[in-house]
Symmetry: C3
Subunit: 498 residues, 3 copies
């Protein structure tokens, strides 16, 4: 009977669907015996991370299968993966056991040799292209770029050092490493060294573990016990390692927030941010490649700065990069003046005309030899604007970035005005130029460039936040701060005269 | 057999469901041949906006069908739509080709006459009621209200103008239009004019396009090349034109944020905001009309200020309005003192007793002739509180707004206190009254009303953010700022005496 | 036939599923006749809250059924519930009619005796354990802890009192209760008393209702007309009473925000916050008990401070508590110095060596007799760190809290430095010590502990926000504020000398 056949067909379809669903749910790559052993205990003792890892792609695919994906869809950049890893899920042991000879944090744990810290050098087994790109970035040099640059190091120490009052005067002490770890080095990264072993009382009794210095930390430039630099977990948090998390702006927001790096704050108030918050729940943050218009209709940080983007018909709009400055032609923040991006991710090698490791002098003469040239700037401009053109006309994009050029010029001039006032204060002897960051008027000068000029540039670059730029952190601050500096200089000068 | 019949019934239901689903997915209104032509290229060259438009209601219904909706459910306010538009989806060409004679930005593009900018006058074809309401609002006059009011224009220039140091003095220059565009006029709107044509290098070669001034911009009062004012895209971003986006508070947050307009910041910390963030994912932001309790259980900005609201049994609670002040009886922000709403959206016509275009004098004598009277205030109060009563008892609502009355009185007095200090400073000759905004003590006075008083009023009006009002932006600021003004006046006076 | 049997089986399964779904949807507990009467009118007059309540668990289960849940899954802590309540949904009348003799806000309303306010004492019928825990917490004493402590009361009055200028001097007036209600008491709670009856004009005509003072309010320590303290609705907002809402951090954010209590701001920028925002949409915020790793993979405020947590295998990780300090060993915020938690939730009973109701002297000598001892501190440390260990190793957790110890020490020292400068200012006679909060330098001192030190401690405790701590609210502020205090003291001293 026809009716019966139809019902049969449907029933069979349903059964097939059910079977596929069930078997799909059951199907997971084999876990290595070592990883199974880890899971045996850790599902009892740190159940949260075990469950988190089980949601990860690492738990759901083997490197061997990952390598078979079409190139654009591949999330693994190695040409091949050592046989011992290729047939198992990427589990506890696969990550925490590599290169034991290099890992000074390797220790005997329940019969296995385990590294406490998984470093970029370990991730490199499957993700060599990303690790290499990252190694050239400013992020990988994030510790030395502030701690080994005497100018920034002075600023860091002035802010985070403990102060005591002695005879009515403020006495600055050296910052504790704990406080550095919770402030600057929380983002930049700490130097994690192994100082022998120590005993820790745990729910399963006393165990012996490496005694790590300046731990815990996931800063982008972390110095690892195997000598490598960086912490992939800064953006791909353990143990889900979710590309979705890395692509959502909350990740970048951990370190890039106002007043000194207000990328997140500007994004939130921008049109792009509005669309992310309003419609993002419909977007696909996990697709590789990431298709403009289909997977998302407004960019997050990752879209413009990192991700592999394609058009709906599969044309590559931008190649993936883990060198976070690779699409940037000017350096907007963290500097006294905005100048072209540096040639090297290691910015301590720069020397300006005054001999300081800064990309411009205090009066804004750029150290051009250390900065990328016009041709390289143009190249990067083209990559970035190519992304904008996924949604905007060429004319729109050009007009937008013409504004940024002007903003860089004007914020540099507003900073220069403050610098001139500060030099005036030094010349009058009301503050001491030997340390340019530690007195009241000097700190007002720092606010001019580190808070207000930065903020205006971010808002200009990211098509957004006009009210933010006007009043919250930007032009109001640039203007009022200048007036306050002038007033304070006059008051202190008048009092000094007498 | 009974069993067979049952299985048959279920099977048929499934098939019917499947068929409906498939045909629904396939069914879309016809696109006009011109729009098809646009899409042919733009899906390759700006794929993001094409995909975005395809998600829009504009792409999914014809005006003819939209007109057939029951009145309360209608999203179109025209009585009828010209025949050439009524049978097609509202596509690229339908919006970008209207009134070519009025559009000085109309140009020949690939064989079509295209306007770069779609203006409220174009949207009026289908949405005349909204456009008319909007035209009467302060938003439609947003440019002239700050740029043609000499008081506000001075404030704008003081803040956004470049400053240089000459002989130790701060020299103010005229602000660049680029910076105005990124600050005040980013929200208020720019004047977009056509200065001939220009050639742009695009991925498909050089093309000739109108040379627009002060572009890009979507400010609420934008002056368009067809002479109209406003940008519907300020709140209905291209090209999804989603009512959901406009109803979510992120849209308003682009311009209404602290410190000068902290609507968004206060909402975030309020009970209403909490419910939006915690439960909003379950709400229906697209339903028209918008049903209290069913579609949402706590208001967003749009619910109180704009949307057509009904009760679950279909009674109208509030009519839709695109005059954003229509439900407001007092003007809380952007003014030295909070006073009744102005009669006209054009506030440059106001003259107070001192002859200034401000709704009150510096000592808070209101320019009552230009402001709505008690009867109109009561009318608006009733509309707004009618919305509150969807969830709150009459007593609750009355008690709530009694607090607001007191807050307006007290914040006006706290502003007056600062004004008196400032006048004292002028009288003593330590700052110069010729420009009331450009010196340190004057800027402190501006903070008193533009930042702190505003914030307290917002929090009072919006049932929320007590800690915000106490410490973040409000009473702490009102109090400390006053102390700092007094100290600074004393210091400068003492130094002047000598 | 085998095929037929299979199709039959599937069909029956579907039917069963459909039937269950439909009957489940239809099945709801009976509403009491009184509640049905309330709903009859209120679904017309306050439809929003009726619909909201219908979504609540209160509307979907009877206490009798709730009592039958396995212990860990139970959301009701009473051993038994009075028969008159046990068989009906927990509706309008069930909550608004209890203990009429105690409720001075009880009134005759449409033939029923109704309490306007439902108090913790009413909720106690079903939730006695939670009410008892809460009653011992600082939250339940939130009004007296600021209003009956003369030190804090002075601070409150200084900040929120109206100021007038008389003869060039700032004259402080007593704060209005309305303003207290919108600031400090908005979170801490108001004293709601009944002052007879009043007539209110409503959509159904004039009705007579109790005249409540200092209404509307949902502060955590609200004094209710039945003599009880607290408002469960502070965190479980009416009338959905959703555990999901209480567990999401937006609820805590209503009162715990920067600059004085930046729990929310720090959480937002932390790794935990990132995971909540990025992945929280996949979590189950309604499950009881709350399973680490399964229901969520990063904590919200409630996870660490309140909720009943279990591991995936059902072991209890932490017991539920509604005493919000029960898992805390140090008190980080709202104090001049961070010290151990107080023994009693009523902190007005504390006396330090100077006889002040503060847990330490101005020079940081703790009033140890009133504070928990080391053993109790250790006990609480173990409870809290037990939660951390759901995802982190013991070593990680220890290292983390070692940082907090150091941070407490350093922020206390940074506060002490400011205190010494302030005492210096008093000694020099440039500010007046009789009120320690009302002059410019004194307010700078308040910022040192209430804003900057607090913020650094929060960030340290919550594993997050290094940039926030460095620049936004923390070390930059601690340092610059100290410089500014010193400058201001020098300037005022020099001027005084002359």
């Amino acid at each position: 009977m026809k009716k019966e056949r139809l019902s049969l067909l449907i029933s069979l379809t349903l059964v097939l669907f059910l079977f596929t669903a069930v078997s799909y749910a059951a199907k997971r790559p084999p876990f290595s015996p070592q990883t199974e052993a880890c899971l045996g205990c850790h599902k009892l003792y740190t159940p949260g991370i075990v469950k988190d890892w089980l949601t990860s792609r690492h738990a759901k695919i083997t490197p061997a299968l990952a390598l078979k994906q079409p190139e654009l869809m591949r999330r693994i950049s190695a040409e091949s993966v050592p046989r011992k890893f290729s047939g198992f899920a990427v589990g506890c042991y696969e990550c925490h056991s590599q290169h034991p000879d290099k890992h000074r944090d390797n220790f005997e744990h329940m019969g296995f040799r385990i590294n406490v810290i998984v470093s970029p050098n370990d991730c490199r087994t499957c993700h060599p292209v990303e690790v290499k790109q990252y190694a050239g970035s400013k992020k990988a040099h994030a510790i030395e770029n502030i701690m080994d640059n005497p100018v920034y190091h002075t600023l860091v120490s002035d802010i985070t050092g403990l102060k005591e009052i002695e005879n009515g005067r403020i006495k600055l002490k050296k910052p504790s490493y704990y406080t550095l770890q919770e402030t600057c080095l929380g983002c930049h990264g700490t130097k994690v060294e192994v100082k022998g072993m120590k005993t820790v009382s745990t729910p399963i009794g006393d165990i012996s573990v490496p005694n790590l210095t300046h731990w815990t930390n996931q800063g982008v430039g972390r110095e690892n016990p195997d000598g490598s630099f960086g912490a992939c977990t800064a953006c791909h948090p353990r143990h889900g390692f979710s590309i979705e998390v890395a692509r959502k702006p909350y990740t970048c927001a951990q370190c890039h927030l106002d007043p000194d790096v207000p990328a997140w704050n500007v994004y939130k108030e921008s049109k792009h941010g509005n669309l992310f918050f309003s419609k993002g729940y419909e977007w696909n943050f996990s697709a590789v490649p990431w298709t403009v218009g289909k997977d998302f209709t407004a960019p997050t940080c990752a879209a413009c700065h990192n991700s592999l983007l394609v058009s709906p018909d599969g044309q590559v709009i931008a190649q993936r990069t883990h060198d976070f400055g690779a699409r940037l032609w000017v350096r907007l923040f963290g500097l006294i003046y905005a100048v072209p991006q540096p040639k090297s991710g290691n910015t301590t090698i720069i020397r300006n005309k005054d001999g300081l490791p800064l990309p411009a002098t205090f009066l804004n003469e750029p150290a051009s030899g250390y900065l990328i040239d016009k041709a390289e700037q143009k190249k990067r401009y083209n990559v970035m604007t190519g992304i904008c053109k996924g949604c905007h006309s060429t004319d729109w994009v050009n007009d937008h970035f013409a504004k940024l050029d002007n903003t860089i010029k004007e914020t540099n001039e507003m900073t220069l005005a403050a610098t001139k006032l500060m030099i005036d204060a030094w010349d009058r002897g009301i503050e001491d130029r030997s340390n340019p960051f530690d007195e009241n008027i000097e700190m007002m000068w720092v606010k001019q460039w580190l808070f207000y000029s930065n903020a205006v540039r971010y808002a200009s670059a990211m098509t957004g936040a006009p009210d933010y730029t006007a009043f919250k952190l930007g032009w109001w601050g640039l203007t009022h701060n200048l007036q306050q500096m002038k007033d304070m200089i006059e008051i202190k000068s008048r009092l000094k005269e007498k």
